[in-house]
């Protein structure tokens, strides 16, 4: 590798050596503990381990041995992917990157002692703690539903067994049956997610149960990529989907998981499948750590450190950072900014300006993909959107097909970026 060193480097370096550096106090290598091995956590752990070349001790705490990505889980429901296509394990992170992967739940955080307690009883010390626990649901946000009803009325908004359950229920629907979705209020993970799911369910039904109906009760007045989805639903699934927004009482919903009924603005409907996606909040460990304010954990845009504690960082869905949607792409992007900052703080490596990006692809029907994306910068108040784009309505079939193929490439890219 040939480097063209500029002449002033030496001089600048000499005068800036006194910059602050947090060193691990009283024990050998600096220690980073990452809680949650999803889009944010796996990426952060991998980048810190990879770029510090063994100078930082990285522990990743994640209860499941196989992580099923929520991204592409709708494509699984539509029949475009198998379960194994969306499952990923942590072997490479441990063997190739030297990350200490611990399959357990974090149940406590002592920010004074700087330790994390695991369900199994162990206590792990940290210099920097990164939490990326994703979301939990707010019980009671949909009247009649709590987490104990998730078998009768699945959310499938954490992927894995819930996705399989929802798909099994969809396949078992009687001819001409009714699939109902209760869509979530803002903010929630993956703004286009519920509507991509509607598209994938419609795709399945069109091919297997064409007289079935889909009813969506939505507490929102509008949703992301609405024009694109509505165009696609008209083109591909005319007459099958009934979206009831806020204006028509879509927010006034009560479910009865025993009777399998849904009341929308007083009108009761019997559902064959009822997919309830409740309101969301930060994964519980963020609250236990005392870094949340309300439902989410406020963070500083430059490095994702929490407002509550400079040594505790929150990534991804659980964070309240400003303009980025809660997505896997966003969590992955935030993780890399955070990894660079954490590494700089612990080893004095170069810290570069924060840059963030996001793109959300959605599949509406076979080879009919659309996307929305933006770039963001760190400001004093928040991560702020500076530029963006969205697929246009009326695009050609070739463009839509290329967009779908691009999403396949992205999936391979991001999962190798997370898991090595």
């Amino acid at each position: 590798m040939k480097l063209n060193r500029r002449s002033f480097v030496g001089a600048v370096a000499a005068t800036t050596l006194a910059a602050p550096m947090v060193r691990a106090a009283g024990h050998g290598k600096p220690r980073v503990v990452v809680v949650g091995g999803g889009a944010g956590g796996a990426t952060a752990a991998r980048y810190i381990a990879k770029d510090s070349d063994g100078a930082i001790d990285v522990t990743l705490i994640e209860p499941t041995r196989t992580y099923y990505t929520c991204f592409f889980s709708n494509l699984y429901i539509g029949g475009f992917k198998s379960v194994s296509d969306i499952g990923h394990t942590y072997g490479t992170l441990a063997s190739e990157y030297g990350i200490n992967v611990v399959h357990d739940w974090a149940v406590g955080v002592d920010r004074d002692a700087k330790t994390v307690t695991l369900a199994g009883g162990a206590t792990i010390g940290y210099d920097k703690l990164i939490l990326s626990p994703g979301i939990d649901f707010i019980d009671g946000s949909v009247a009649g539903w709590d987490i104990s009803a998730q078998n009768a009325m699945p959310h499938a908004y954490k992927a894995g067994s819930q996705s399989e359950l929802l798909k099994a229920q969809l396949m078992a629907m009687p001819e001409g049956g009714t699939y109902m979705m209760v869509a979530p209020p803002n903010p929630y993970r993956c703004p286009p997610g519920p509507y991509e799911r509607v598209s994938m369910v419609a795709h399945y039904l069109k091919n297997n149960n064409p007289t079935a109906k889909i009813i969506v009760a939505d507490p929102k007045a509008k949703f992301s990529k609405q024009g694109l989805f509505e165009e696609g639903w008209n083109n591909h699934y005319a007459g099958m989907i009934d979206w009831i927004g806020e204006e028509f009482g879509g927010g006034n919903v009560e479910v009865d998981p025993g009777a399998m009924t849904v009341s929308i603005d007083g009108e009761v409907t019997k559902a064959d499948v009822c997919n309830v996606i409740p309101a969301m909040k930060a994964g519980r460990i963020a609250e236990i750590a005392g870094v949340t304010d309300g439902n989410w954990a406020p963070v500083n845009a430059v490095d994702m450190s929490t407002k509550a504690d400079p040594d505790v960082y929150v990534l991804g869905d659980a964070s309240q950072q400003g303009d980025m949607p809660k997505s896997g792409f966003s969590a992955n992007s935030q993780a890399k900014v955070c990894a660079n900052a954490v590494r700089g703080a612990l080893t004095g490596s170069r810290v570069f300006p924060a840059k963030f990006a996001n793109t959300c692809w959605s599949l509406i029907e076979t080879n009919d993909g659309v996307k929305v994306g933006a770039t963001y910068e760190a400001t004093d108040e928040k991560i702020a959107k500076v530029d963006g784009f969205i697929s246009a309505t009326g695009e050609s079939a070739e463009v839509r097909k290329a967009t779908y193929e691009e999403s396949e490439g992205w999936y391979t890219g991001i999962t190798s970026d997370m898991f090595g």
Partner: protein, 237 residues
């Protein structure tokens, strides 16, 4: 992927760079904007329950077509501008409130104009809070005017600074695989530097079509593109 510039002490370089947040992003001060809005309140409402008064209500203003609210009687001048495709975004709104009469000569908005640019940025930051939030509707209008993401040249240690390129590359590897796999998304490893730089500038100048790449390249400056080219040229996995 191995660290490539081990010949230079990472610590030394790190310290030159940690002062590197030399990017000025304009978001505006919402609280100051709220105070400035007092001048507008006589005619305009904004926020929950806002209705059209002497002037139209200002909820969901950003991204709105000019003169498009039902039930409000606009001047001919603004109605025509709307029919011609005028939309309200940070830039058009700023021009309008700077000098309403010069922007739309027949406007009924009897406001002399807000000359101070910082004031306009703050006022618009306040009004922006009553339009769609990009975290919920990613395609909603931006909340900041990004500047070219410049890093002070004094801090860039190297021409085609490989270590900076490695950091920047993390944005690429969300989609492009470092292994060189190319299903759906092309490979970008081992390109000759010149080709890489040319391609990125073609996206930046919107000569090449892909909107994701136009967006990503659009905010990379020359040094950053050079850094990426230098990094990807010899990438080792």
């Amino acid at each position: 992927m191995r660290r490539v510039c081990s010949s230079l002490s990472a610590v030394v370089l790190g310290l030159c760079l940690s002062a590197a947040s030399a990017h000025a992003t304009e978001t505006g001060d919402v609280a100051k904007g709220e105070a400035l809005f007092n001048d507008c309140k006589g005619c305009h409402m904004v926020g929950e329950g806002a209705k059209n008064r002497v002037g139209p209500h200002l909820n969901m203003l950003f991204g709105r077509k000019a003169a498009s609210l039902e039930g409000f009687r606009y001047s001919k001048s603004l109605a025509r501008a709307g029919a011609n495709g005028l939309e309200w975004h940070a830039d058009t709104l700023s021009q309008y409130i700077e000098n309403p009469r010069s922007f739309a000569s027949g406007t009924r908005m009897s406001y002399r104009g807000m000359k101070d640019e910082a004031d306009r940025v703050n006022l618009l930051a306040y009004l922006r809070t009553f339009s769609d939030d990009p975290s919920n509707i990613p395609e909603a209008d931006p909340t900041a005017t990004g500047t070219d993401h410049t890093v002070d040249p004094e801090i860039l240690a190297l021409e085609g600074d490989v270590e900076y390129g490695e950091y920047l590359s993390s944005e690429c590897t969300t989609c492009h695989q470092t292994s060189g796999g190319d299903d759906g998304i092309p490979s970008i490893v081992f390109w000759p530097e010149e080709d890489f730089v040319t391609a990125m500038h073609a996206y930046k100048d919107k000569v090449r079509p892909n909107p994701v790449m136009q967006m990503i390249a659009g905010r990379l400056n020359n040094e950053e593109i050079a850094a990426l080219a230098a990094y990807f040229k010899d990438l080792e996995e």
